[in-house]
């Protein structure tokens, strides 16, 4: 880390540093794009993990998190602007393509406009929303933003702010869809979008020419809500993000808070958390199998996947009392001890599932139609996967070893033995197979732990009011669909000053357009299914 600090300070002497688990660099906006270029090209920070918009009162700005995929070193950069009336920062979409959606999100919540970003529209809120809700001076009066009953206008153009070579700023209008294009709305109510995602798709016959993604149909403002809730209260939202990886999401929030408090979690809780995370991953991948096969028209496979997922939900129900939103992890451990039958049932399930997986492969994977629909479709190179931030199983299918469990182990992942499934084809079939093989790896992890759960406390005794020490904390876990990051900025209160959830699914839809271009409509459905995004996770 000292090395990175030296290199950056020799490149940019005015940069200031704050040391922590992740080095934080502060730069003025004027030098930001130069530093970004240096980070990207010279220091090989090729993966933009997150952009966190911030309102510090006096100033507004962003905190960027970068990872170098070669050695997994991390760095964060803080950029500020003091102009609250017309805040402008330089865009980094030209370097990291995932910034395209992240910067639009920051614009949506904070009104910070990004110079040279080609498309400065809101991402989650309506076009006619008044104000920027995550600003600290936001007017939350319902009179300002009443419930609107009419449709918002859909524009085929967008605005951008561009810096000319001589340093002047210019407003531009960019075209998204030309008037003569055949644009089809796929979603928000559509069987294959797995929720309320809207893809405006320009078609030429059956061929997809361009996709414009509209998010926000289940935007619940979780980040805004968290700012007025105590830390234990914020946990409950985690289950409601990606409900297919509810346990892992909650694990991320707990980890971030426990990290800040420097808590040591009882061993029993660590074991149970790891097992629960993996069970959740299996259930999510089974659901993926079900819905993905359904998208390709194999309806019978759908029922098989759901039948076996049901068994996991039964196990969860016994211990957690719920089948969807478990509310099981708490800060310092678990909400309750495991059910006496838990170990027996999990072992039975681990013995049962591999046989079923063989059936799955006979029914669907080996089918010649399925193979033709999957192989060579929706190609994503490793470079693109990193640039678009498509991590998780989808990234690993493109040859990017991005598993947080391996790169930054948490819980017991450094003590169990498991393979990181990586394939190099980068097509739909690879994404499918990575998930199917990960089910087996998860079973392998569970089998190593299930007999060794130590006796003892399942939770630490915590005070009802938890105050985090001042600072910025960022933790990631490997959720079912990729890394879920939790960023907390604490000012020492019992409420987080800012809690940002870095969704695993948002970058996936960012990569939808390049993957689908030139393919057929049916390919779009197959690619969407193979990316396996969950809308409440990206919309938050």
């Amino acid at each position: 880390m000292a090395n990175i600090q030296q290199e950056i300070s020799s490149f940019l002497p005015e940069a200031t540093f704050v040391e922590g688990t992740i080095l934080e660099v502060s730069v003025p906006d004027a030098k930001w794009h130069d530093l970004a270029l240096y980070l990207h090209d010279k220091l090989h920070f090729d993966y933009l993990v997150s952009i966190v918009g911030m309102d510090w009162g006096e100033t507004m700005g962003c905190v960027y998190y970068f990872t170098c995929t070669a050695d997994n070193s991390q760095v964060s950069v803080k950029v500020e602007t003091a102009d609250r009336e017309n805040p402008l920062l330089h865009s980094v979409t030209d370097l990291w393509k995932s910034a395209y959606l992240y910067e639009r999100e920051v614009y949506d919540f904070y009104g910070i406009r990004f110079i040279n970003h080609p498309d400065m529209r809101r991402l989650f809120l309506r076009n006619d929303w008044v104000g920027y809700p995550l600003r600290k001076d936001y007017n939350a009066d319902p009179e300002v933003n009443p419930i609107r009953l009419e449709h918002e206008a859909v524009d085929d153009t967008t605005h951008a702010i561009v810096e000319t070579p001589d340093g002047k700023l210019e407003e531009r209008t960019n075209t998204i869809f030309a008037p003569e294009e055949f644009v089809v709305n796929i979603g928000p109510q559509h069987p294959a979008t797995h929720g309320v995602l809207r893809l405006r798709t320009s078609l030429d016959g059956e061929i997809v020419k361009k996709i414009d993604v509209y998010c926000g149909y289940v935007h619940r403002g979780i980040e805004k809500l968290c700012e007025s809730l105590t830390y234990p209260q914020t946990l409950h939202f985690a289950d409601r993000l990606d409900y297919m990886s509810a346990q892992q999401n909650r694990h991320a929030v707990c980890l971030c808070i426990e990290d800040a408090l420097r808590l040591e979690i009882p061993a029993r809780a660590q074991y149970v958390r790891t097992i629960m995370d993996e069970l959740m991953r299996i259930s999510s991948h089974l659901l993926f199998y079900a819905t993905f096969c359904m998208d390709l028209g194999a309806t019978t496979a759908f029922f098989y996947g759901f039948r076996d997922r049901e068994k996991i939900l039964d196990i969860f129900e016994e211990t957690c009392g719920a089948r969807m939103t478990f509310n099981y992890y708490t800060i310092g451990g678990l909400m309750a001890d495991i059910h006496p039958d838990f170990q027996r049932k999990v072992k039975e399930f681990c013995a049962y599932l591999p046989g079923m997986l063989k059936d799955y492969h006979t029914l669907f994977t080996g089918n010649v139609i399925a193979q033709q629909r999957m192989k060579g479709v929706g190609l994503l190179s490793r470079e693109d996967a990193i640039s678009y931030g498509i991590a998780g199983p989808s990234g690993r299918a493109s040859g990017w070893a991005c598993d947080v469990r391996k790169n930054h182990p948490y819980a017991l992942y450094d003590q169990v033995e498991f393979k990181e499934i990586v394939r190099t084809e980068g097509d739909v079939f690879a994404r499918y197979m990575v998930r199917m093989d990960e089910i087996l790896e998860s079973i392998h992890i569970i089998e190593q732990l299930i007999d060794n759960i130590p006796e003892g406390d399942y939770a630490l005794k915590m005070k009802p009011i938890i105050k985090l020490p001042e600072g910025r904390y960022f933790r990631q876990v490997e959720a079912s669909r990729g890394p879920l990051g939790i960023f907390i900025e604490s000012h020492g209160d019992k409420y987080p000053y800012r809690l940002k959830i870095n969704s695993a699914c948002l970058p996936l839809v960012g990569g939808l357009d390049p993957m689908c271009r030139g393919g057929k409509i049916a390919d779009l459905i197959a690619i969407g299914g193979s990316l396996d995004y969950v809308i409440p996770d990206m919309d938050r």
């Binding site: 559509h190 294959a192 028209g297 309806t299 029922f303 039948r307 139609i369 049916a522």
Partner: protein, 359 residues
């Protein structure tokens, strides 16, 4: 040996002619036949809906309908009643005439083809010398209805569904036509009765051996595609186009498409049993008199429906096992593989007929 239903029909005919002039008798017969066909059509559709729901339920580890009546057998009656009393939602910005016409075209095409089938010995609406040709001709009208439905609905999804359907049905019509032609060459007649009678000493799939089996397989594939069923259900691919060409239809207009889809399944299976499995002809093996006698004891109607339902079961089996093809793969399958294969097969069949190489 087999009961000849023409005795009954001739008796009715003579009875009518004795009490009224010839044209009056004909008129009454038209009405009788129409009512009988409509009834059979509706009952068969109800049966098929129930049959498919049960079969697919067992494939999918479910029970299927089991609440209305014993084993849920009245479920589809209840569904039919529901669809009859449903409102026909009227839409703006559509071509009302074409929109309302489309379901009738589809159902009329399917009715006409249905009328050609030989349900039993002597149990046939009309037996004329180009029966098979007529059947192929009328079954092609359905695609017009589907195209109109998609076009007049003023909806981009239905339009894509209709265009897909048009491309698919026009392509697979070729395969159906050619495989039927292969069997016509073998039978030497286009008369439906003639084809059935020709199978008295063994069904065509046995006597015509290799080219007949190839034609049968091609016919099965093309027939599945022709009925827009999985794995060829692209026109209504629900995960891509919500419901394809009939997305905007409601009530009984949707019901017509739905009925026609199931009845087309029956028609395709019925024609397959006619051309390859002897229609209503029982299984005869030359020389085995005792066996043939026993087979003849089973009524011809049962033979026909039994064969049709077995073939329908195979087509239903396809649908619930296979994923859906993509449009380019679908067309490639037809134009690059099935069509050349079919032409070669037809040529082989001609050689076999010329040189008498069949059984």
């Amino acid at each position: 040996m087999l009961f000849d239903f023409s005795i009954v029909t001739h008796w009715i005919d003579n009875l009518l002619r004795s009490v009224m002039p010839g044209w009056g008798a004909l008129l009454v017969e038209f009405v009788l036949v129409g009512v009988a066909l409509l009834l059979l059509y509706a009952v068969l559709a109800l049966f098929y809906i129930y049959f498919e729901r049960k079969v697919c339920a067992f494939f999918q580890c479910r029970l299927g309908p089991n609440r209305v009546g014993p084993y849920g057998i009245f479920q589809s009656v209840a569904d039919m009643f529901k669809i009859l009393i449903k409102e026909l939602i009227s839409l703006n910005h559509i071509d009302k005439f074409l929109f309302n016409l489309a379901p009738y075209l589809v159902i009329v095409a399917s009715m006409l083809a249905f009328g050609c089938l030989p349900f039993g010995k002597g149990l046939q609406v009309i037996d004329f010398n180009i029966g098979v040709f007529f059947l192929i001709a009328v079954s092609s009208i359905g695609v017009l209805g589907i195209l109109l439905a998609g076009w007049s609905s003023h909806n981009k999804f239905t339009l894509i569904g209709a265009i897909r359907s048009g491309a698919q049905m026009v392509s697979y019509e070729l395969s159906i036509g050619l495989s039927v032609l292969t069997m016509v060459v073998f039978a030497g007649t286009m008369s439906i009765t003639g084809i059935v009678e020709a199978q008295n000493n063994g069904w065509f799939i046995f006597t015509g051996h290799i080219p007949a089996i190839v034609a049968f397989l091609i016919y099965l594939v093309a027939g599945t595609a022709e009925t827009n069923r999985g794995p060829f259900d692209l026109p209504e691919a629900e995960s891509e186009l919500t419901a394809g060409y009939h997305t905007e239809y409601s009530g009984i207009h949707f019901g017509f498409f739905y009925l026609a889809e199931y009845l087309n399944l029956f028609i395709v299976s019925g024609v397959a049993s006619l051309l390859f499995l002897g229609g209503w002809m029982p299984l005869h093996i030359p020389g085995w008199e005792g066996f043939n006698y026993v087979m003849d004891c089973i009524p011809s109607v049962l033979w026909f429906f039994g064969k049709a339902i077995v073939i329908s079961f195979i087509i239903i089996w396809f649908k619930w096992s296979f994923p859906r093809l993509r449009i380019d793969q679908l067309l490639r399958l037809e134009w690059k593989y099935l069509l050349p294969l079919n032409l070669i097969n037809l040529f082989v069949m001609v050689l076999i007929v010329i040189y008498g190489l069949h059984f």
